[in-house]
Amino acid sequence: MDKSMIGKKPDSSNTFYTDEHQMFRQSLRRFLDKEAVPFFEKWEEEHIIPRSFWTKLGGKGFICPWVNEEYGGMNTDFGFAAILNEELARVGAGLSGIGTHSNIIVPYIASFGTEEQKKKYLPGCVTGNMITAIAMTEPGAGSDLANIRTTALKNGDSYMINGQKTFITNGIHSDLVIVACKTDPHVTPAHRGISLFLVERDTPGFSRGRKLKKVGMHSQDTAELIFEEVKVPASNLLGEEGKGFYYLMTKLQQERLVAAINSLVAAEDMLQLTLSYVKERNAFGKPISKFQNTQFKLAEMATEIKIGRTFVDHLIGKHINGVDIVTEVSMAKWWITDMAKRVSAECIQLHGGYGYMEEYKIARRYRDIPITSIFAGTNEIMKTIIAKKLGL
């Protein structure tokens, strides 16, 4: 297996990575090896990442490097964002909340925020002092986003928010939450009544529900958020009223590409873990790597992972150039997450009984992966999108 499989030095297909990208990746990896890897098990057990890690990471310029220089960023392209995600995912899926903040949530503020909002929030987002979350999903509205019930009703120069959100990434840490609300609960089609609001941590009436216990991604805090008579000034409306659904749709391309990248890195890591294991583990008098079943399983996985890497790199390149790749990203999201799940099942199997023990990293990878076919739009929704684009 060549090292390009883990993205250390991209192969010739990734012409979009420059020397600056490589330096960014190398210094980020060195940083993570020192500041994240040794503590990650502990964070998993504690079910949270310390805020100090966010600020250390931000202090080095690794968070939101794409933000304009006037707000503290480095004005970089999406290649840096992709590298940030890849390197975090290499350590563990539990770190993905940082990538979600940097590559999915903060872009809403940069794209749709007013000058005043950008000045107020972006610098903190870059340093890691201000952690963000985006609250779309509700107990009754997952895939069916247009059906959210949380309302934000206008009253003079403010809005009153009422409702409940669930499965919110960074739910516990978040200082600033972008909340999808119905400003017009009666309009048809229903998605035209959705607007986005910026809600700050200490706003009266805004509280955190339970930190949710999940099968995997333990160190990533996922929570319920509760809004009871939360009064926010009209200046906290993000973008225009009634355009929330449209904003969400425009940003989902990047979110789904990031989901595909993360799953791909997980699959690459699982392959590496398993390649090492099968060479060390002896059964019936020889390393299990010498059995044809082992060899063929790994050959199949390496092939599928390479296909995934080629596809994803191709899409990263297109996305950097601002091409509309909604259909292809939908394809990548379902296929790669599905493939990573298959890889996780095969890799844990090749680890035998050891793979079921928490002290082996493959056990964590196995628990982390099943959500990927559900979040960022379930794989069934991806197929619906592709079918629509096929004119069906």
Partner: protein
């Protein structure tokens, strides 16, 4: 052909289901959180005879055939797999060795206590460097007068921390390979028997697996199970006997996942209608139902073959393989049908997903089952073509 279970068995099955669904299952979440089966559940399970599932009536057990055992396993498989494993580890590999291979004196000594659940049973074969390749075990047993002295270590031993009676495989003659292994009945209070750390597992909470150490552990010679040198053969027999039972336990979990998924698909509304009305959800459910029915047919057929005294080496391996593969497939689809809530611990689905995984590994991995099936095909071929030399 008659596919019906007898009326008595149906009645027993129903009463076990009532107990499992109404008494155990409401506590499944608690078992998960506390990593412990509540005492009263253990006691009630003992009272209704579950611990004596594999033990003949004359020694205080239920004295039932394999079809009946599978019917009961199917029902207890519906709930917390940790609970199922505590019982299955005892009634399966934990006690079958003594039932099948024990002499009269050993049976009288151990089985009555095991039948009531007073003495919990366990099976100790696996070692750090001997998983699928069981012949590679290193635990040694050296005869010294009327005793054997055991030295070595085992790991991943189900019921290890709480069992009183262990069926232990150890090497008595290292020069003889598989024929140098002997099985012993080892009591947890024998001198030199040490329980090591309890393993942190991905699933099966409530069931505890641990390391076991033998430090000059003294075992009386009368505790040799079967004959010296037949331990490996015994181990294979014990494992083979358990395979239909494992398939039945998985069947119960699969049936439960089907019920939960059908229910959720009808209750959950997205896009203004129950998700059941989405064709893809209907197809997922149809695939799950098909898998459940396939597994049910294979499981009970193998159980019936066991009761007819037929050789089931190939078919039992198929049932074990099919049961674990199907369980994992169904658990994955159930998580997908449930969406986000399927990944959260508030719902039981994620528990089945984690619990399912080990079934493809324990008591003979899926790969080993395929080896066994292929090995039998080879034997059958040679039998019908005696002139072939392979």
């Amino acid at each position: 052909m008659d596919f019906n279970l007898s009326p008595e068995l149906l009645e027993m099955k129903k009463s076990i289901r009532d107990f499992v669904d109404n008494t155990v299952d409401p506590l499944a979440d608690q078992i998960e959180k506390e990593d412990k089966i509540p005492d009263h559940i253990m006691q009630m399970s003992k009272d209704i005879g579950l611990f004596g599932l594999s033990i003949p009536e004359e020694y205080g057990g239920l004295g039932i055939d394999m079809v009946a055992k599978c019917a009961i396993y199917e029902e207890i498989g519906r709930t917390s797999n940790g609970y199922t494993t505590v019982i299955g580890g005892h009634t399966g590999i934990g006690s079958v060795g003594i039932v099948e291979m024990g002499n009269e004196q050993q049976k009288r000594k151990y089985l009555p206590g095991m039948a009531t659940g007073e003495l919990l049973g366990a099976f100790a074969l696996t070692e750090p460097s001997a998983g699928s390749n069981a012949v590679a075990i290193k635990t040694k047993a050296v005869r010294k007068g009327d005793k054997y002295i055991l030295n070595g270590s085992k790991h991943y031993i189900t019921n290890g921390p709480s069992a009183a009676v262990f069926t232990v495989m150890a090497v008595t003659d290292p020069s003889k390979g598989a024929k140098g292994i002997t099985s012993f009945i080892v009591e947890s209070d024998f001198k030199g028997f040490i329980v090591g750390k309890t393993e942190e597992k991905m699933g099966l909470r409530g069931s505890h697996s641990s390391e076991i150490f033998f430090d000059d552990c003294e075992v009386p010679a009368e505790n040799v199970l079967g004959e010296e040198g037949l331990g490996y053969v015994n181990a294979l027999k014990i494992l083979a006997n358990g395979r239909a039972g494992l398939a039945a336990r998985n069947l119960g979990s699969c049936q439960k996942l089907l019920e939960l998924s059908v229910k959720y698909a009808h209750e959950r509304e997205q896009f203004g209608k129950p998700i059941f009305e989405q064709q893809i959800i209907q197809h997922y459910l149809a695939e799950i139902a098909l898998d459940v029915e396939t597994l049910r047919s294979v499981t009970y057929r193998v159980a019936w073959m066991v009761d007819q005294g037929m050789n089931v080496i190939k078919e039992a391996a198929m049932a074990k393989l099919l049961g674990s593969e199907i369980y994992n497939r169904i658990a994955d689809k159930a998580v997908q049908i449930h969406g986000g809530i399927g990944y959260i611990k508030d719902f039981p689905i994620e528990r089945y997903y984690r619990d399912a995984r080990i079934t493809k590994i324990y008591e003979g991995t899926s790969e080993i089952q395929k080896n066994i099936i292929a090995g039998q095909l080879h034997k059958e071929y040679l039998k019908s073509n005696p002139t072939v030399n392979v």
